[in-house]
C-alpha cells in the first residue's frame, strides 16, 4: 500500500499520431519499469482492430515507480482509456479513476479533433491537465503557435507546457516531474468501508476474468470476500495486483491505487463497468455515483452469407458475448436470409468491431441488416411492444402510435464549421436546445431522434467538420413521431433485411437515396431489375438496374483457354459471396452500404 501523497494517477490524451504510445513507452522505460531488453514498441496496444482504427476499446493501465527530484519515491499509475463516443460511458469511468491528464500535442501539427473530444472528457472529470508538446525536435515544430492554439481552442493555460521529444527521450524527465508536482494526489480514507470502482474487465486464458479497479476508500486484500454492489454477486478474491505492465501480485490495494483483482469470476458478463466493489461484510452502504447499466441502443441482424455457417456463427457469437457484457443477441429468422441473430450494441462502432471480429477471428462472412433502435409501438388494443426489428412491425391498422428514443447530443465544434453542424442536426430532425460559445468554439446541444444518429451521424459529423467536432450523447427518453416502415423491393420482392423505420416526412428522400445506392451496389443481371421503396403498398421511389447488354470476351483462342477459364471461375466464386433474393444476387456489402447517406 502506498501513501496517498505518494500516488499520482493520470491518463494521456492525444490525437492518434501525436505520440501517445511512444510517450507511454518512454515513461515506462526511463523509470526502469521494464528492462530495456524486454521493451517492445507500443506496450499498451493490444487488439488488431484497436491498432487499425486508432481507437482503444479496453482500458489498460501501468504502474510506474519513480524517485522524484525531491528525493521521494512516487507511484505513478497511467491509464489508457477507450476513445470513442460508443464507449463514452466506459471512457467516463476510466477518467473518473484518475485525477489528471497529460495533453500530448504534436508541436508540428497542433490540436486535432480527437484531442478535443478526449480533452473535454478529461475536463468533465475535473482533471488537472498538463499540456505536453511532443516532436519538439522536428524542424517543423512551432511550439509557441501550438501553445497559443491550445489556449484558444481548448481554453487551458499552456504557458508552462512541457516540451519533449518522445522519440529521442528529450524532456521525459520533465514530464515525470510535472506529473509529481502538478497533478494532485488522490483522496481517500483507508479506514472507511471498501469502495473500489470497476473500471474494466476482460478474460484471460490463465486467470479467468481480470477486473481492473480503482480503490477509492478502504483496502482490498487477497482472500477478502467482495460484493459487486449492482449485481449483488459475492466472490472470494483470489489475487490482487498491479500492472508493471505485466501482472504483478501485491498483498493489498489501498485508496488511490489502481490495480487488478481476480476472483473466480467465470464470465466478463458478470462484471459491470462502473460497479462499486465493496466487502461482503461491513461493506459500504452507498455505491459510487455514476453507474449506468450497459444498454444496447443499436440493433441489427447478423446472418451468415453461407447459411451452412449458422452453427459456426452461433459458437462465435456466444464466445464473444462472454467477453462483452454490453453486447446482446438472440436468434432470428428471416424469410430471405434464413437463420441468424438479432444483436444489440452500444453504438455503430461497437457493431462494426463485433462484426469485424466475427469475420476476422472466426472467418465467417456476414450480412449485416439495417441497424435499428428500440421503438415503442402502442397498439390499438392498448398494449405496447418494444420493437427493434422492422420485420416485427404490426399491421398499420393495429398501430395507434409509435414512440422513438431521443437523445441529448452535445457537440463541440470550431465556429467555422458551426453552420454545417447545425444543418446536419436540422436535417436529422433535431431540436436545438442550446448554443453557446467558448472562445472560437461553439457548444451546441440538440434533442435528436436516436434513429437518425445510430447509423452514420458520427461519420457525417466528422466529415462536415473535417474531424474537428467532438460528440457525446445521452438518452433522454421516448417521444411520439410520425414513423413508418419503409420496405425495399428488389425485382418486386420485398427484402426484409433492407426494411427501415423512417420519419414520414423523410421517407421519400431516404427511399430515393437507398434505391439509388442499391442501383450502384447490385451488379447488372441478365434481366432488368426494378428497385422500389414502398410504404405499405405505396411506391415512393424507384430505380431500375438495366439488363446486362455486353459481357463477352472478344478474342478467345487456343492460348487464352486457361486464363479465361480462371477468370470466369473467379467471377463465379464471387457470385457465391452474394445472397440470392428471388433471381437477384445481392452482394453482402450492399446491405450496410445502401443505408449510407452522402448528403
Amino acid at each position: 500500500m502506498t501513501e496517498l501523497s505518494q500516488i499520482r494517477n493520470f491518463s494521456i490524451v492525444a490525437h492518434i499520431d501525436h505520440g501517445k504510445s511512444t510517450l507511454a513507452d518512454r515513461l515506462i522505460q526511463s523509470t526502469g519499469t521494464v528492462q530495456d531488453r524486454e521493451m517492445k514498441e507500443q506496450l499498451l496496444d493490444s487488439m488488431d482492430i484497436e491498432r487499425e482504427r486508432g481507437i482503444t476499446i479496453k482500458a489498460q493501465t501501468v504502474r510506474i515507480d519513480y524517485r522524484a527530484a525531491d528525493g521521494q519515491d512516487y507511484v505513478l499509475n497511467l491509464i489508457d482509456t477507450p476513445g470513442h463516443v460508443d464507449f463514452a460511458y466506459e471512457v467516463s469511468r476510466s477518467m473518473k479513476a484518475v485525477e489528471g491528464s497529460l495533453l500530448v500535442v504534436d508541436a508540428s501539427q497542433g490540436v486535432e479533433a480527437q484531442t478535443l473530444a478526449n480533452v473535454y472528457q478529461a475536463i468533465e472529470a475535473d482533471h488537472e491537465i498538463v499540456p505536453v508538446l511532443n516532436k519538439i525536435d522536428l524542424p517543423a515544430a512551432e511550439p509557441e503557435r501550438v501553445k497559443e492554439q491550445i489556449e484558444d481552442v481548448i481554453g487551458i493555460d499552456a504557458s508552462d507546457a512541457v516540451e519533449i521529444s518522445a522519440k529521442t527521450g528529450l524532456g521525459i524527465g520533465d514530464v515525470l516531474e510535472a506529473i509529481v508536482t502538478r497533478l494532485p494526489a488522490p483522496k481517500g480514507n483507508a479506514d472507511a468501508p471498501l469502495k473500489a470502482m470497476l473500471v474494466d474487465s476482460w478474460y484471460d486464458a490463465y486467470l479467468g476474468v481480470v477486473v481492473l479497479v480503482r480503490v477509492m476508500d478502504g483496502v482490498l486484500k487477497k482472500s477478502d470476500r467482495i460484493r459487486m454492489m449492482q449485481t449483488g454477486a459475492v466472490y472470494p478474491v483470489d489475487r490482487v495486483g498491479v500492472f508493471k505492465p505485466g501482472m504483478l501480485p501485491v498483498d493489498r490495494l489501498g485508496p488511490g491505487e489502481l490495480g487488478f483483482l481476480t476472483a473466480s469470476i467465470k464470465q466478463v458478463r458478470d462484471t459491470r463497468v462502473g460497479d462499486t466493489i465493496t466487502h461482503e461484510k461491513k461493506g459500504a452502504e452507498t455505491p459510487l455515483p455514476g453507474f449506468q447499466p450497459a444498454q444496447p441502443v443499436v440493433f441489427c441482424g447478423l446472418f451468415p452469407v453461407d447459411s451452412a455457417e449458422f452453427e459456426d456463427l452461433r459458437d462465435a457469437i456466444e464466445k464473444l458475448a462472454l467477453n462483452d457484457a454490453s453486447f446482446s443477441y438472440e436468434m432470428e429468422t428471416s424469410a430471405a436470409l434464413g437463420f441468424g441473430f438479432r444483436c444489440g450494441f452500444l453504438g455503430l462502432l461497437h457493431l462494426e468491431v463485433i462484426r469485424d471480429r466475427l469475420e476476422r477471428e472466426y472467418g465467417i462472412d456476414l450480412i449485416t441488416t439495417a441497424p435499428s433502435v428500440i421503438y415503442h409501438v402502442y397498439k390499438t388494443d392498448g398494449t405496447m411492444i418494444e420493437m427493434h426489428n422492422p420485420a416485427d412491425m404490426p399491421e398499420a391498422v393495429h398501430v395507434d402510435r409509435i414512440e422513438e428514443p431521443r437523445i441529448k447530443a452535445t457537440i463541440l465544434v470550431p465556429d467555422d464549421y458551426l453552420g454545417d453542424v447545425l444543418k446536419l442536426c436540422q436535417d436529422r430532425r433535431g431540436i436545438q436546445l442550446d448554443l453557446t460559445y467558448a472562445g472560437s468554439r461553439a457548444m451546441v446541444v440538440y434533442d435528436l431522434p436516436l434513429n437518425e444518429v445510430v447509423f452514420d451521424f458520427y461519420d457525417r459529423l466528422k466529415s462536415v467538420t473535417k474531424g474537428y467536432a467532438s460528440f457525446d450523447y445521452q438518452m433522454i427518453g421516448y417521444a411520439q413521431d410520425q414513423l413508418v416502415k419503409m420496405q425495399i423491393l428488389v425485382n418486386d420482392e420485398p427484402v426484409d433485411a433492407l426494411s427501415v423505420m423512417v420519419h414520414r416526412a423523410r421517407a421519400e428522400a431516404r427511399g430515393r437515396v437507398m434505391c439509388a445506392k442499391l442501383k450502384e451496389l447490385i451488379p447488372q443481371h441478365m434481366f432488368k431489375i426494378p428497385i422500389q421503396a414502398a410504404i405499405g403498398g405505396r411506391i415512393i421511389a424507384r430505380e431500375t438496374i438495366s439488363a446486362l447488354r455486353k459481357d463477352v470476351t472478344a478474342k478467345c483462342y487456343g492460348g487464352d483457354v486457361t486464363r479465361k477459364k480462371k477468370l470466369l471461375e473467379k467471377q463465379k466464386a464471387g457470385k457465391k459471396k452474394m445472397r440470392q433474393f428471388g433471381r437477384v444476387e445481392i452482394p453482402q456489402s450492399a446491405f450496410i452500404n445502401a443505408l449510407k447517406m452522402d448528403e
Binding site: H525, M526, V552, A554, Y557, V561, T562
Partner: protein, 389 residues
C-alpha cells in the same frame, strides 16, 4: 472419358514472338527486337517440333497456323521449313489449311509470294481499321491505302483471305462503324474477324485506362448496339457470325480456330504457345516459356521449353469445352459435354436462360442465341461447374 477426345481434329500452332512495334491494345506474347537471327530461330523451331512430334506420335494434321507477334516478319524460307517438317512428322490431311497472320504493309506484302510458294494457303491480315487516323491511334504502322493494296496482292495469291478489324474504338460512332464495315464488305473477303476493342491489363491502353486517361471509349450500351449492327450487316452480306467475333461465307470458316472452339487437339510451338493434347483417354494442357530468350535457350539445350504442363480433370475439360464451344453459333454437343461433366446441366437454369432468350437447345445441342452471345460470360457463369474454393 467416354468421348473420343481426338475427334475434333488436330492443329499445329507456331508462335513468332516478334513485332516491329508493340500495339497499345495488344496483350499477346510479342516483343520488339532490332535483330532476329532467323536461322537460329528456324533451327530451334524445327528441333522443338521434332521433339514434340516424337512425343505425341502419329496424328493426322488438319491445320497449321502461324501466329504472333508478327509472323509476316518471318523469312518465307523459315515458314517453308516449318511446313515441310510438320507435314513430314505428321501425315497432312489432303485439304490441310495453312494460315499465316500478316501485317498489311508493303514490305510484308512483298513476301506474300514466298509464303504462297512455301505452302501457306490462307492469309489473315491485321487491317484493324480502314482510316489512317484510327490506325495511328491503334499504333499500327500501315496506312489504309497500304492495307487495301496488300489485301489485293493477297487476294491474287491465296485461296482464302481474311482480315481483322477492331471496332468500338475511342470516339467511334455507331454510324461511322456501320460505314466502315460496309466498306470492308465490298472488298473480296470471305472471312472477317471483328473484335471489339478490349482494354487489357499490362498494355499501354490498360495503363492509360487505369489512370483515367483513355477517353472516348464507348459505354456498354453503345458497344452492345455496335455488336448487334455488326451481326446484322455481316449476315445481310452473306458472312454470318459463326463465332462471337468471326464471320465467314459458309465453308470459309477458319478450320484451325474451329479446332480450338470445338475443343480439339493442338500442339503449340514457339515462345508462350499453348497446347491441348489428348492420349489414352486423358487430356493435357501445356504452355511454353514466354520469354523468347529463355525459350530459345531451353529448346537449344533440351529440345523442349515447357513452362506449365498439367493433366486436366474431366470437369476442367467440361468447362473448357463449354467455354469454347458456346462461342460458336453451332454451340456444344450435349452428349459430349455431359460425358465430360458426369452429369447433365441444371435444367432449371437452362429453362430460365431459354425463357430469357439467351440460349437455344435441341436434343443434341445447346447454343447461345444472337441475344445471348454478347453476354456469353454471364451465361457461362451460370453453366460452369461449382467448385470448392
Amino acid at each position: 472419358m467416354a468421348e473420343d477426345l481426338q475427334a475434333a481434329g488436330f492443329g499445329l500452332y507456331v508462335h513468332w514472338p516478334f513485332c516491329q512495334a508493340k500495339c497499345p491494345y495488344c496483350d499477346f506474347n510479342s516483343h520488339v527486337s532490332a535483330t532476329v537471327d532467323q536461322s537460329r530461330w528456324q533451327a530451334a523451331l524445327l528441333r522443338n517440333l521434332e521433339v514434340e512430334a516424337a512425343r505425341i506420335g502419329p496424328r493426322r494434321l488438319d491445320t497449321i497456323f502461324f501466329g504472333g507477334g508478327t509472323p509476316s516478319l518471318m523469312d518465307p524460307a523459315l515458314v517453308g521449313a516449318v511446313i515441310d517438317a510438320a507435314t513430314s512428322h505428321f501425315a497432312p490431311a489432303e485439304d490441310i489449311e495453312i494460315t499465316l497472320e500478316a501485317n498489311p504493309t508493303s514490305v510484308e506484302a512483298g513476301r506474300f509470294r514466298g509464303y504462297a510458294a512455301a505452302g501457306v494457303n490462307r492469309i489473315s491480315m491485321g487491317v484493324q481499321a480502314l482510316n489512317d487516323a484510327d490506325l495511328k491511334a491503334l499504333g499500327r504502322l500501315h496506312s489504309a491505302a497500304e492495307a487495301r493494296a496488300a489485301f489485293d496482292i493477297a487476294r491474287g495469291l491465296f485461296d482464302r483471305v481474311s482480315f481483322d478489324l477492331i471496332y468500338a474504338r475511342q470516339n467511334q460512332t455507331r454510324d461511322a462503324w456501320r460505314t466502315e464495315l460496309g466498306e470492308a464488305l465490298t472488298m473480296a473477303v470471305d472471312h472477317l474477324s471483328l473484335y471489339q476493342l478490349t482494354i487489357e491489363d499490362g498494355t499501354r491502353f490498360g495503363d492509360l485506362h487505369a489512370r483515367g486517361r483513355l477517353r472516348g471509349l464507348p459505354p456498354d450500351t453503345l458497344s452492345a448496339d455496335m455488336y448487334h449492327d455488326t451481326q446484322d450487316i455481316c449476315a445481310a452480306a452473306g458472312l454470318p457470325a459463326y463465332e462471337v467475333s468471326n464471320h465467314a461465307r459458309p465453308g470459309a470458316e477458319s478450320r484451325h480456330n474451329l479446332i480450338y472452339w470445338r475443343y480439339g487437339d493442338y500442339l503449340g510451338i514457339g515462345p508462350g504457345a499453348h497446347g491441348r493434347l489428348s492420349a489414352g483417354g486423358t487430356r493435357r494442357a501445356e504452355a511454353a516459356l514466354r520469354a523468347p530468350g529463355a525459350w530459345l535457350d531451353a529448346v537449344e539445350s533440351t529440345g523442349r521449353a515447357v513452362a506449365d504442363e498439367m493433366e486436366l480433370s474431366p470437369e476442367d475439360c467440361a468447362d473448357e469445352y463449354l467455354m469454347m464451344a458456346m462461342r460458336l453459333r453451332e454451340g456444344v454437343e450435349l452428349d459430349r459435354l455431359d460425358a465430360l461433366r458426369g452429369a447433365p446441366l441444371d435444367d432449371r437454369v437452362l429453362r430460365d436462360l431459354e425463357e430469357m432468350g439467351f440460349i437455344g437447345r435441341s436434343n443434341a445441342r445447346l447454343w447461345a442465341t444472337d441475344t445471348g452471345r454478347p453476354v456469353l460470360n454471364a451465361i457461362l457463369r451460370e453453366l460452369m461447374l461449382d467448385r470448392v474454393a
